[in-house]
Structure formats: C-alpha cells, structure tokens
Symmetry: C2
Subunit: 382 residues, 2 copies
C-alpha cells in the first residue's frame, strides 16, 4: 500500500551509475582497470556548481541516504533525518551527492562484482581500498558531475574520516569538512574489535577464503556474529539499559540457550537481518580501511602538521556516550586543527545513544548542524 511521502522528504529518488574507464591505482599498488559507482543526488545543482555537498558513508552505509526508492518503501534512506528540504542539509539550497563507496555491496564495484580477469565475482580478490582511495574515486565522481569544489564534504564515523582525508588530499576542492563521531585513527581496542569481527567471518566454514559465491553460499553465521558484536558496541551501556534492561521475553528463565533476555533477541534479529543483506568481503574490507586510516603517520605522527595542509573550515561533532569513538578522540582532531590555525566549530552533544547517535535527530545536534550549514550557504551566497 503506497504511503504518504512526508512533505520534508526529498521524495522518490532513483540511484544512478557512473562508469569510470580510467584505471585507478590504489594505495596498495593494485590497479582497478575500470569501476562503477552507484550514487544518488538530492536537490538541484546550481548554475555555477557551487552548492554541492558530498555525503560519505560509514561501515555499513550506502548511496541511499535520503528519500524513498518507491512509494511502497517503508523506510527512507539512512540519513533522511538530516537531508531534505528545510533539514540540516537543506536540499532547497544544496545539491547533495551520496554514493556507495568502492568495494561496497550496494551497486558500486566491489567483491560481489564480476572480475573482468576471470568472469567470476571478485570475492576476496577484490583489492583492499583505503580511505584515500575512496577520496580519489569520489574526486573522480565530482569531475564526472562537473563539480570543481564542494560546499561541504560530510560524514559520520568512517564517513568522518573521509571528510577529514578530503581536507588534506584535495584542500582546494572543499569549503567545509564536517567530521561527526569520528577519530583521527583507531585505537588498539578499536582494531581489536574489528579483528574479532573479521575472525568471526573468516572462521565460518562457508567463507571459503572469500570465494563463497563460487561455492553458492554465504558465511551467514560469521556475518551475523560480526554484526551482533559491532551493533552492541554502537550502543551505550545506558541506552541498552534503558531500552532492554534485564527484561525477559517470557515470565521466567528457561534454563536453556535460546535467547531469553530481550537484549539477546534484539541482537539476534539485527545480526540475522544484516547477514543476508550485506557482503562479507565488503565487511572485511571496510574494517581494514578503518584500521589502516592514520593520515598523521605521513607527517611524523603529528596530526596538526597533517591538518595544516587543509584549507577548509571544519565542523567536528561528538556524542558523550559514544565509546567506540569517544569525544576525546574528536577533541584530538579539534586540538590539532586549533594548533594548525584552522577554523573549527566543535560540539560535544549530550546523548545516551552511543556511537549510533550520529544517525539520530537529537535536537541540539540537528540545531547546530543546521546552523552550521546555513552559514555555509550564506558564505557561498546560495
């Protein structure tokens, strides 16, 4: 039954494909001869092409950031709360581009695509991509769309790392970098969580060294396990306590190993859903891109020196109960930007929602994000 599309939605959107035939040399030294990027756009590109905003997605994200794919869609894109007419990223003013990153599993070239060299899916032969490779491929997408300079590059979590990398890699090509719930690099604990998730996937007998599609199977159990773990770390102890507490599904415990507490059922549900919709090799590759990210390593581990190459302004946002990328990690970025004499606005948002808070329309967060983007529009006379 078709639903009523809300008035402040970008409405029904259609994903598009951009094809790139110029080889892309990756940081690893490997070369992708050709690749495709799936993307969506919201709003209208203005005449002088000065109103474009690039949205970079996080680990499990994709190009469908706002609106609906049909009037039958139950849920809008993943960041619909912040993208649309009169929303933080106001599509009455901005032309918004959201893509699925290279190596993804939502339409862009990635491990599930056909490897032209073999005629079979790449599987684990798909080369590892790093954040800088994503920025490079995103810059080519900008060229393809005729955009010389972005009004803003925006992202949360791993997306925030891309926004930060843009500022260093293509300093002339963005006016603003919006870095939300992110970190300048992963801590040992962050890497450890990623490795435990990877181990779950790779030790699933259905993984077949990453060539599971050839074996006509997917490592569902491993992917479910990885997602249950990751999902749990995106929530705060407080948020889980408030949402589930120690509530049981039944009146009393059953003394068996089926999920008994509500929180267990919830994680099983989330894990199961993810395990049939996300590609395991993409998951591995995205976590490695996270682990490897550390732009300061090329500048004597001096983040200020690294960020001194930026020419844009910055908005940095963190959330109090985010323990994957705590406010302290965002404050490392802010401190380095101040040391590098860059313009930076910073907000530490009170929230009990953990890392996931960046996807949630928390009033103070939305308000300041909106105000920042209004200033961006004003400064560019949009």
């Amino acid at each position: 039954m078709p639903q009523e599309i809300p008035a402040n939605s970008v409405g029904v959107v259609t994903p598009q494909i951009a094809i790139f035939n110029e080889p892309l040399e990756l940081r690893s030294g490997k070369i992708l001869e050709r690749y495709e990027l799936m993307y969506e756009t919201y709003g209208e590109l203005n005449a002088d092409k000065s109103n474009a905003v690039l949205i970079c997605h996080a680990l499990s994200g994709h190009h469908h950031a706002a609106g609906y794919h049909s009037t039958d869609d139950k849920k809008p894109g993943w960041w619909d709360s912040c993208i649309g007419p009169n929303k933080a990223i106001d599509t009455n003013k901005f032309f918004v581009i959201a893509l699925n990153n290279l190596g993804g599993c939502h339409g862009s070239t990635g491990p599930t695509s056909i490897n032209p060299a073999t005629g079979e899916p790449y599987g684990s032969d798909f080369p590892m991509v790093r954040v800088r490779d994503w920025v490079e491929s995103q810059a080519r997408l900008a060229d393809y769309l005729g955009i010389e300079k972005f009004a803003a590059v925006v992202g949360g979590s791993l997306g925030g790392m891309q926004a930060m990398r843009w500022a260093i890699q293509y300093p002339e090509r963005l006016h603003n970098s919006v870095v939300i719930a992110s970190a300048p690099k992963l801590s040992a604990q962050n890497i450890a969580f990623n490795e435990v998730a990877r181990n779950a996937i790779m030790s699933d007998p259905d993984f077949h060294d990453g060539h599971y599609l050839k074996h006509d199977t997917i490592p569902k159990a491993g992917l479910m396990q990885a997602r249950m773990l990751a999902h749990l770390t995106y929530l705060s102890d407080d948020a889980m306590g408030e949402k589930f507490g120690r509530d049981l599904k039944a009146d009393q415990v059953s003394y068996d190993y089926t999920p008994e507490f509500e929180v267990e059922s919830y994680l099983h549900y989330q894990g199961k859903k993810f395990s049939t919709t996300f590609d395991a090799n993409t998951y591995l590759l995205m976590t490695k891109a996270l682990d490897y990210f550390d732009p300061s390593q090329y500048y004597e581990n001096d983040l200020a020196k690294c960020l001194s190459h930026a020419k844009c302004k910055f908005l940095v946002v963190s959330f109090t109960t985010d323990w994957r990328f705590s406010p302290e990690r965002s404050e490392e970025i802010v401190d380095a930007l101040i040391e590098a004499d860059k313009e930076v606005a910073y907000a530490r948002i009170e929230s009990e929602k953990g890392h996931d808070a960046f996807l949630i329309p928390i009033p103070r967060y939305v308000k300041l994000f909106t105000a920042y983007m209004e200033r961006v529009a004003k400064e560019l006379a949009l």
Copy 2:
C-alpha cells in the same frame, strides 16, 4: 629444568577430590545425584577451625589458585600474587580453600564428566547451575572439611558474586565477604557480550548441540572467537593502547587479512590457547550463571533489602578502568550495604588495567587487601 620456588609461595600443592553422594537439587529443578569437587588447600586449618578462607573463581578460573603443581611448572596458580606466606591472604594465618566450581572443566563434575545415566560425557545435558547452586555445593565442601564458619569468602568478578551470595544464603557461615571487581547483577550490555560469545560457540558447526565430544571434536573456532572477544573486554582501551598501540608486526601493512597489528596477534594467541584448554559447555554455563545472577530480584529488586540478611562485614574493591564491571556497579553494592546498616570498607583503585586488574598485584590494592585480611585475623585472634 626445575625452577627455584619463591620463598613467599605456598610451594608444590596437590589437588584433591571431594565426592558427594547426597543429591543436589539445583535452582532449575534438576537434580545431580552425585558430584565431585576438585580443590586445593594452602596453609593449615587451626584447631578450632576458625581460620578458613574460601576462594571463589571467575568465569575461566579453577581450583589452582596458588603455588605450583610441580617444580617444573612455569607459572603458579592464578591468584598467587595474593595467596601465600605474608601475602594479602596470608597462609601463615589462614587455611585457604580454592575449588573448581560445579560445571567446571578442571576436575569437578561438569559437562565433560561421564553422565551416569548414559555412560557418555554429559555435554550439553549437564544441568545449568546458578550462583546459589555453587554456594550450596561450596557449603557442602565446607561441611566435608569440617568448617562451620569461614573467616572470609573471597572472589573477583563472578567470584565476587559468589562471595555476595554467601552473605545472603548462609549469613551465619562467614565473618567476611570480599567482593572484588564485581556487580550486583549484569547490565543489558554485559548480557549482550555474553550472548555474542555464546553465539560464536553455538554457531560453530563442530558444536553439535553441545555433544561435540561424542563426535570426537571440539568447537575450537567458536571458543577462540568467544575468548578473543571476552579477553578484549577485560582490558581497558588505555591498557591496550599502552601495551600495543598501533604497532605493526612487520615494517608495513601487508594488505591481507593475516594479523598485522600486534594487538591482533595477541588476541589470536590468547584465543587459540584458550580454545584447546577450556570446555565450550562450561563456558556457556558460566556465562549463563553470570546473566542469571540477580539476588535482589527476590527482594522486590531492592538490593539493600536483599543484603540486610547478611551478618558479615564486607570489603568491596573496584578498579577505575574496569568497564565490564565499572566502579559504579561496585558502588551500588556499597550504597546498598550502607543503607542496610552493614559494615563495609570500599576502595576504588586507580588502575589502567581494566577488569583484569583484580588479578594484578597493584600496590595500593595489595596493601589495603592485606590490611583488611590482617584485621580479619586479629578480630578472630588468629
């Protein structure tokens, strides 16, 4: 090559077996017709049997808490830092009993034992045990050894829950309860971590519904996965940062999925070691005992009301960077004890070692633990 046994060690110790033929009705309603408990003792029981201290172990612990099993042993028991002559639990004064809990895999009756009903290992037919069942079986061990009342019941983490349960269940049978790095009940996040670990084990195809021994195999991959995750949560972000940082094993990244960062290798090593030495069904059962523990549920969820039944004194200890059982959780216990008008000493120990801190001889921790136990000895005229 035999090593020199340190002078402040209890020396070479020999585990003993206590056999119980009186049926034990468990909280679940199931009955164990007979069972055995493996235990060790250190020091000498005095004439009036007033100097006994019971050590309760945590999830992966066992009866070998102190000393060496032979002069060839490379490592002493798991709490050797706190048990021995002139140590916190001074074996010159106290007679210390450490046991492997029912359901364990280190010699006490558990899932790897032969089920008399079938002549095969119990496997997953071994009944679930709860903390109160452990306390019951420990009380019978005390009877067996002729101990009417313990000078102290002591434990860390899940062991602390047993020490707390003792105070409520057998208030006349202990003078002191020492509750270290513990909590009055698990939070939703705690339960979630346990369920993710269980899911890893149970989704291993070698698990065979818990009857892997019959299939002549063990769910090694699942157990390794569970341990990697758990181990990671026992350490603090700071401790991992200090120990491993982002150090690589090689000079540069290899762009493959072998462990590249030192922290990954470490977790793999820990997980692998554990997967061949610990029983998967015991792991499941111990995590369920943790999840179920919540003595206040029988007292209108009022912990003070629950603890008002205690007649002993308490020492409660927490560690600043322990995020599995944070200081706030210990302080819930302390607050309830104060409300219930009980005598309680509390220390929040500065440490970067996370949950594992309770096993580490941190000077301030050892000093106050020693002082407390000296007072215990004095009050009992030992």
